[in-house]
Amino acid sequence: MNKKKGWISLLLSAVFLLSACSQGNNESANSGNVGSTGGEETTPSSTADSTKDNATLAPAKLKIVLYGDESNRMKELAKTEFYDVVKKEINAEVEFQFLPWTEYGGGKTDLMLSTGEDFATYTDTNYMVKSVAKGLYADLTPYVAALPDLSKNVDEASFTAFQLSGKQYAIPVGNKPNSAEFYSVLVRQDLLEEVGMTQVTSLAELEAFYDKVHAVHPELVGYAGTDARRMLLYDYTDQNLYWQNDFIALDESVQDDKIISWFETEEFKAYSNLMRGWYDKGIIPKYAATNVPQLQSDWNSGKAMIWAGTAARPFEGAATISQAVPDAKLVNYFLGTGRPKISRGTYSTAFFVSAAAKDPERYLMFFNLLQKNQELYDLFAYGIEGTDYTLDANGRLTKITTDSLIPDWLLMNKNFIRFDNTVPDDFIADYKAWDDGAIISKGAGFNFDNTPVKNEETKLNGVLTEYLAPIGSGFSDYETAFPKALERLKAAGIDKYIAEYQKQFSEWYAKQSK
């Protein structure tokens, strides 16, 4: 009797558990089908076309992961126009998947890579080095020939940046003037003119601008950031510094392989004292130490006077600010002259393909479409003419919907980009000429393998946040705070880290110059 009872209860619990699981299997299979049939609604006609055009290509499925919010319009187009075009051009069914930005370079992206999913998404050199070491990226070298149009529209140096030991692990997209990123000061020209000034060419003028605006608009903050080492370069050093990471800089004005341990330099001291001055003066708001996100909202809502500049920020940023301040005008100024602008390469980002991908070549053919010609660029970045945007006689763009599609910062290519009516012609000319005379950093294409100094790097990052960042942004005084910070740096192993970096860099540099 007891035994019988026992078996029955065993069965009971098993039935409940299994029913839950098996239900899961059935229904998930069903809803999976529902999802894909939803996408296939439009395919019959296009499949017919594409089989004619692409008889040689076997059908393939591509999954492209993008980060950020998926707009409604993007969702719609992903299932209709984008799907059709890709199907027609390369006989592949493309699916776009959106993840929150927190999952970029880790989190779910890592999970998807480690569990062998078939997808492609964008990366940066840091993430690439880490993932290639784990064997998670596909080696794309054999397929580069699948990029005939992209390689015409994307700079060659950008390709080198994503090579490791001569192998191509990611495909750069985008081609935009981006030398001297954050080396200029982006000034609210409308405020500048309001206080009777016309331009800013030196630190003294910049501070005068702050004082004058502060007198009229005490509610505005000065600089909406905490890092000004690039824009203040002319005021604390004669070198042309370019940072490899938070700890290491290169002097681009000399041709050698020497790396600079930034925090241990006299330049860092001079820079910190400048920042301390800004902090005391109130140019950097007191809450910046604890609330960095607030700074960006301040800037976006027109509550700040200056920001770090890039070639594109005057028009990228103006669109946002003008919602709060309709007549806002943004202009880039350098606080000195005579040093060439430094570029890391003109790419926006680069796509990798997961090692488990069945057909890496098809992914590359898809990347090629992204930068193939004006027509496809317009489609992916702006949508459908007449529905999503209109073009005037000069080719200027007016957006009808505000929904973003494939992020335009990602695709941005100077050969294809369209400006809207609010961007003045002279600005476009400036923008296109921005990179003239720029040099490619001598470190471009070098990727540090951090495995030998992983522990040191983790500790150093801790010291950076706790001790050095506050000094660098003026929140703590260099004289009083630095000795302790330096002690911590040494304890964390800065010397070993620098030595390892120098070793790898010198080896790589020697190979380059051969």
Partner: protein
């Protein structure tokens, strides 16, 4: 004298609790007041306990631009909470019954299996593999609650509760010829009502608040829950504002307005906040009853 002493102590405790409640309430009040303020005044003057320049603009904006998405996410959260709670309660009580039933030889083995997972877990990677590759829970409604249908802690709570039901009742039912199914559904479940309500509440709360399952298993916007929608929004703002975005080409995206964030928070908290006062007595009762045997 003891009576006044007690009174003094009682007053003291009330004051402590009152202070604690006020501390808990402050952020919520700020969120509500923030959501009812105008954006420009928030930016200029910061938050306050009373809305600055009272306006409903934020809610109009939210429901104007994202109404469809919010409503869909809301209903998805509701569906997941209801379905999840029902399934979870069924599975949990069934398991609890099995390990609490007298005379079942393997009950300790089953109890150990469950207990073991409290101490050791396989980790995220195997979990993700299992859910996506073997159970195919990716992008399905089931994926939003199936992984959570058995909380071992609540299962033990329920088992304890079942044990507190006098065994004589079960025995007499067996004498009358009732099998386990009948005993489970006609005796244990009705008698275990308080425990059942308690675990249902815990489960409901868990399903309502969860954003991890959608983050891991869902990419289809149709399946976004309200918490995940929130998480997504906040995550994107924080990442872009943190400066990491510079690595990926210096993307500039306008973060939603300060007040919009607050309004979203209020919308998410609202249903639970309304429901809680009515149900909280069950929480306390359930835990106490479950813990005291006999």
């Amino acid at each position: 004298m003891p009576a006044t002493e007690n009174k003094g102590l009682l007053v003291f405790f009330y004051i402590c609790i009152a202070v604690f409640s006020v501390i808990c309430l402050v952020p919520f009040v700020l969120a509500v007041s923030g959501s009812l303020s105008t954006e420009s005044r928030i930016a200029a003057e910061g938050y306050s306990f009373w809305p600055r320049g009272f306006s409903l603009e934020t809610y109009q904006f939210l429901f104007g631009s994202k109404a469809e998405q919010i409503i869909r996410a809301y209903s998805m959260s509701l569906v997941v909470t209801v379905l999840g709670t029902l399934t979870a309660v069924l599975v949990t009580t069934a398991y609890a019954y099995v390990i609490s039933v007298k005379g079942f030889r393997l009950k300790n083995v089953f109890a150990f299996f469950a207990y073991f997972t409290m101490l050791f877990s396989g980790g995220t990677l195997p979990w993700y593999l299992l859910s996506t590759k073997y159970y195919h829970l990716g992008d399905t409604l089931l994926g939003l609650f199936i992984p959570y249908v058995l909380s071992v802690f609540l299962m033990f709570l329920m088992a304890n509760y079942f044990r507190s039901i006098p065994h004589e009742i079960v025995e007499s039912a067996q004498i009358d010829g009732a099998g386990h199914l009948r005993i489970f559904f006609s005796i244990m479940i009705p008698l275990g009502r308080v425990g059942l309500v308690t675990i249902s509440l815990f489960y409901a709360l868990q399903f309502w608040n969860d954003f991890y399952l959608p983050l891991m298993l869902v990419t289809d916007q149709e399946l976004y829950t309200i918490q995940y929608l929130m998480y997504n929004m906040m995550a994107n703002i924080q990442f872009l504002a943190s400066g990491n975005a510079a690595h990926v080409g210096g993307a500039i995206i306008a973060p939603p307005l300060e007040t919009a964030k607050m309004a979203m928070t209020c919308l998410t908290v609202l249903p639970i906040a309304i429901l809680y006062p009515f149900l909280q007595s069950f929480f306390v009762k359930g835990i106490i009853v479950g813990s005291v045997k006999g």
